[in-house]
């Protein structure tokens, strides 16, 4: 069995192992047994996709060419991880609270859920990552070819292109199988992460094994190895300062902004706690990965024939020494590096492409027409699968087009500079409330343009895309626009040159654009939530749910999440709200929760647009804007809310006290009323009984006496009847059961009738009227009004003690009110009695005339029913009553029904 065949076999077995590990992890997670899947160790190991084949093989090549400089690629991420308290902590927190699915999603979400930004980020990410994927394919094919070369029995060399194709196809299969198992990007890809963690162990182990073999096996220990370095071609530390600092910064930036790094760092993160372990464990991993790079490079330079590719020393050194097992392990390490990077990059890119490009287009063209449960979900999954295939296919095409040449080797740093363009928008969005969408768009566009022009396009070589004349004389012959010497910055390293200019211009445009533009309310809201992510973990909602229909929302959610998940979410929220069934109240809180849940599936911008379609536009309420205001305003808001609450409480307490007082008074009144009634009834009853006993028991009564006593009994029963009539009347009025008999007539006629009924004038009682004023047409219950007038006139007749008694009846009409005053010339009513005269059984002083004291109480009730009022008019020398009544009122019979 040849080494090549063995390699193929081992490789296939390894792939089978990866598939089964991923499958087992997915199964365990699904059955809820996978708590160890979410450990910080797995998280740390998954971060190792930073170390691609480019670093596995390329670091040695890098070191062989420029010494210790290679280490900058690892120092940047080390510093970022060590400084996790600054940025990563916040990034992870925001990513989880906003259910972020990708870096494009985060940036778009921060800047008002702008899909334009998301598309821009997605395109730039695809452009920067595709060559990187090609680079991984190349490394696998190159390492495979290295094996084939050493194998004399392999008759025909395997075609490099076909190897790459097979690898690409296998990776696509794996990624589609385990990367798109569930739609919700927030339900982590346990299988993928687990496989990656395994690959991380394999590649670290492989590189360490090769390193140990080189140091102790080939060089004879640490001391001799160091001596060897001293005498090698890279003995002197000749790193340029700008490259050292620049590359460290660049790798730090790329560590945060590479789509695949963002995927494992933020999207797949389960808990903040994992960061604490990764903060030291990942730097340790990086340190171990780079520990033996320089020795391997030096020994390789020393022992390998001149012209051997230093990028493959990790593989060719063991092969040359006949250590086939070690070589195969080393191959597996490189294979692991390449595949894990491609898998995660494909997942990250496919999420971005499907969420921000395919789904919006599909939703736009299909509208909300096809309403089938889960149809959006199907489309989204399909879009994601196709995107994965597409991304890998693009990588393969790029690999074929470039011919696998040395141009690819440089693409790593070029891609870093490309994705570093996201950093200003990302960090600005996390730390600066004033960052706006306009600024982010301007910065990203300008930075990406400079990157394309100064680094990416020139990387294809002169005359490939940019003509030679542009290199020599600049765009349109403008010397200051030369891609390698922008603004006259000549003799700079191309990567550092492009990095400097692109980021400078990017940041400047970002800041300037932000300063000059004014953000929309939703942008300000998101900005506040992102920057104050530790302040307001549950931030205010952006939806006003009044218009939203829960049923429509459920239908839409079912389309995206699938029927079961959507119904589970809805019924959970309904239960929390205390509503039975599946349809919760569309409260702002619920809408925001739903939007986040949907964002986990289709991205923030699409989810926002879809909810907006149903709810009818995001309403940023006054409360939300208050929340956007700065901290002081926040505190003020809270305290004012508290104040309002306590005021409300005080108000309620006051109302309760009043109600209580009223109840007590009514109770007292009722008692008084009852005792009054008994008293009033007893007096006539007593005399009736006494006189009827006299009539019965006294034998010799004269007819005169008999008739006198019978008259008394009769009078008393009349009085009793009147009293009962009055009581009945009052009770009917008070209970509102009275039916008004609406008629129309003049006031004059009414007063005439009332005066007549009250006994007319005469006998020392005179009534003065001005008839000219009484020509008023009235539409009301005339009988009831007459009852009031009669009562007032007869009261004056009874109680006015002046000689002669004169009653003035004055009529005025003002503001649509008819006012009739009854003023006599008697002593009037003492001030302290004004309040009680309208109460039941109230009689003033020692009455000279009999009466139950119900008249004025009945008058008051009648006037209330008629929509008017009767009141005592003080300051008129005599007793004065004012009856006022609106002239134009629909006398509410309705009121009678109350």
């Amino acid at each position: 069995m040849t080494v090549l065949n063995l390699l193929i076999l081992v490789c296939l077995l390894y792939v089978v192992l990866l598939f089964s590990v991923a499958f087992a992890a997915d199964r365990a997670a699904m059955m809820g047994r996978g708590s160890w899947l979410r450990s910080s160790v797995v998280y740390t190991l998954s971060l190792s996709i930073y170390c691609t084949a480019w670093t596995f093989y390329g670091a040695v090549g890098f070191a062989a060419r420029s010494g210790l400089e290679f280490v900058t690629i690892y120092l940047g991420p080390t510093l970022v991880m060590v400084g996790w308290w600054w940025t990563l902590r916040r990034l992870v927190r925001v990513g989880r609270s906003q259910r972020i699915t990708s870096i494009a999603d985060l940036i778009s979400s921060r800047y008002g859920k702008s899909n334009l930004l998301a598309v821009l980020v997605t395109v730039l990410a695809v452009v920067a990552t595709t060559p990187y994927i090609a680079l991984q394919l190349q490394s696998v094919t190159l390492s495979f070819a290295a094996f084939a070369e050493t194998d004399p029995e392999a008759g025909t060399l395997p075609d490099m292109q076909s190897t790459a194709l097979w690898v690409a196809a296998g990776l696509a299969l794996f990624t589609i199988l385990f990367g798109t198992r569930n739609l919700d990007a927030n339900e982590r890809h346990h299988g993928v992460v687990m496989a990656i963690a395994l690959e991380a162990v394999v590649k670290l182990f492989a590189l360490l094994a090769v390193g140990v073999f080189v140091v102790w096996g080939l060089s004879g220990g640490i001391g001799p190895t160091l001596d060897r370095i001293e005498t090698s071609a890279i003995a002197r530390f000749e790193v340029s300062g700008s490259r050292w600092v620049g590359l460290t910064m660049l790798s730090a930036m790329a560590f945060l902004t590479l789509p695949r790094m963002f995927q494992v760092l933020v999207v797949e993160n389960e808990a903040d706690e994992h960061l604490r372990t990764a903060a030291w464990a990942f730097p340790a991993y990086l340190m171990l990965m780079s520990l033996f790079v320089v020795p391997i490079a030096v020994v390789g330079l020393d022992m390998m024939p001149a012209g051997a590719n230093p990028d493959l020393f990790v593989l060719t050194l063991p092969l040359m020494e006949g250590r086939d097992g070690l070589a195969i392990l080393s191959f597996l390490g490189g294979f692991s590096s390449a595949t894990s990077m491609v898998i995660v990059a494909a997942i990250a890119l496919s999420t971005m492409v499907s969420n921000h490009v395919v789904m919006p287009l599909w939703l736009h063209y299909s509208g909300m027409a096809a309403v089938v449960s889960g149809d959006v979900r199907t489309v989204a999954l399909m879009a994601r699968r196709l995107s994965i295939g597409g991304v890998l296919f693009l990588g393969y095409v790029y690999f074929r087009m470039s011919g696998g040449g040395t141009a690819l080797a440089a693409i790593g740093l070029i891609a870093f500079v490309g994705v570093a363009q996201f950093l200003p928008a990302l960090m600005g969005g996390l730390f600066w409330r004033g960052a706006t969408r306009t600024g982010a768009l301007a910065g990203l566009t300008l930075g990406a343009a400079v990157w394309l022009y100064c680094l990416f396009l020139p990387s294809f070589g002169p005359s490939a895309i940019l003509p030679q004349s542009v290199f020599d004389h600049g765009l349109w012959g403008q010397g200051w626009l030369r891609p390698r010497a922008l603004f006259g910055a000549e003799h700079m390293d191309p990567v550092i040159h492009a990095l400097m200019w692109s980021l400078l211009l990017n940041v400047s445009a970002f800041i300037l654009g932000s300063l000059l533009s004014f953000p929309q309310p939703i942008e300000r809201l998101q900005g506040a939530q992102f920057v104050n992510s530790f302040d307001h973990p549950s931030a205010p909602g952006g939806w006003s749910g009044g218009m939203a229909q829960s049923e429509d929302l459920l239908i839409m959610a079912q389309r995206i999440m699938g029927a079961r998940e959507a119904q589970a979410l809805f019924s959970a929220v309904a239960a929390r709200q205390g509503v039975a069934g599946y349809l919760p109240e569309p409260s702002p809180d619920f809408l925001q929760e739903l939007e986040r849940a949907l964002a986990g599936s289709v991205g923030a911008a699409t989810a926002h647009a879809m909810i907006g379609q149903i709810v009818g536009g995001a309403a940023v309420s006054v409360e939300d804007l208050m929340a956007v205001a700065d901290e002081t305003a926040q505190i003020m808001e809270y305290s004012s809310q508290l104040e309002a609450k306590s005021q409300e409480l005080a108000r309620t307490a006051r109302q309760l006290r009043q109600a209580n007082e009223t109840l007590t008074q009514i109770s007292v009144q009722k008692d008084g009323f009852l005792s009054q009634i008994s008293h009033e009834l007893r007096t006539p009853m007593t005399s009736i009984r006494a006189f009827s006993e006299i009539l019965r028991d006294t034998e010799d009564l004269s007819p005169d006496e008999q008739s006198k006593y019978a008259t008394i009994i009769h009078d008393e029963t009349v009085r009793l009847t009147r009293l009962l009539d009055d009581l009945l009347d009052l009770s009917v009025l008070e209970n509102g059961q009275v039916e008004l008999n609406i008629q129309t007539g003049t006031l004059e006629a009414l007063l005439d009738r009332s005066v007549r009924a009250a006994g007319g004038d005469g006998d020392g009682f005179r009534i003065r009227r001005v008839r000219a004023n009484e020509q008023v047409e009235l539409t009301t219950d005339l009988d009831r009004l007459a009852q009031v007038f009669i009562n007032l006139i007869s009261n004056a007749r009874k109680y006015c003690d002046a000689k002669p008694a004169i009653l003035n009846i004055r009529v005025t009409v003002s503001d649509g009110q008819l006012v009739v005053d009854f003023v006599d010339n008697g002593r009037g009513i003492p001030t302290d009695k004004h309040a009680v005269i309208f109460e039941k059984f109230s009689r003033i002083g020692q009455t000279r005339v009999s009466g139950a004291g119900l008249g004025l109480a009945i008058c008051r009730e009648i006037m209330e029913r008629l929509g008017g009022e009767i009141s005592y008019l003080p300051g008129q020398k005599g007793a004065a009553f004012r009856v006022s009544l609106p002239l134009t009122v629909e006398y509410m019979t309705a009121q009678g029904a109350v």
């Binding site: 210790l68 060590v82 400084g83 960090m427 530790f534 973990p537």
Partner: protein, 95 residues
């Protein structure tokens, strides 16, 4: 900002935690500066060898990892949020 919002002085434990967070923030800056130190040795006839830089860089790396491990171990993520926000605002001013 309302004066009563944050107390002027803190209990000993809170104080320690805050200084620990300060240390966590400053660690990458120190690391960044120290990693640039080999640049200063360039041209010096005695000390610009790759081996020396190699040992220095890896030694510093190990120190950073240890420091980070110690700080992260004692830094609680659920430190009271207010502490976090207060410092966050200082950060905003600083970045």
């Amino acid at each position: 900002m309302s004066p009563e919002r944050t107390p002027l002085f803190l209990a000993r434990r809170t104080y320690r935690r805050r200084r620990l967070a300060d240390a966590a923030r400053i660690l990458p800056l120190i690391g960044g500066v120290l990693f640039c130190l080999p640049l200063l040795w360039k041209g010096s006839p005695t000390s610009d060898s790759t081996v020396q830089s190699l040992i220095y860089v890896f030694g510093l790396w190990v120190v950073l990892i240890l420091a980070s491990a110690i700080i992260s171990r004692h830094l609680r993520l659920d430190d009271n949020e207010r502490d976090g926000t207060r410092s966050e605002h200082e950060e905003t001013g600083g970045t």
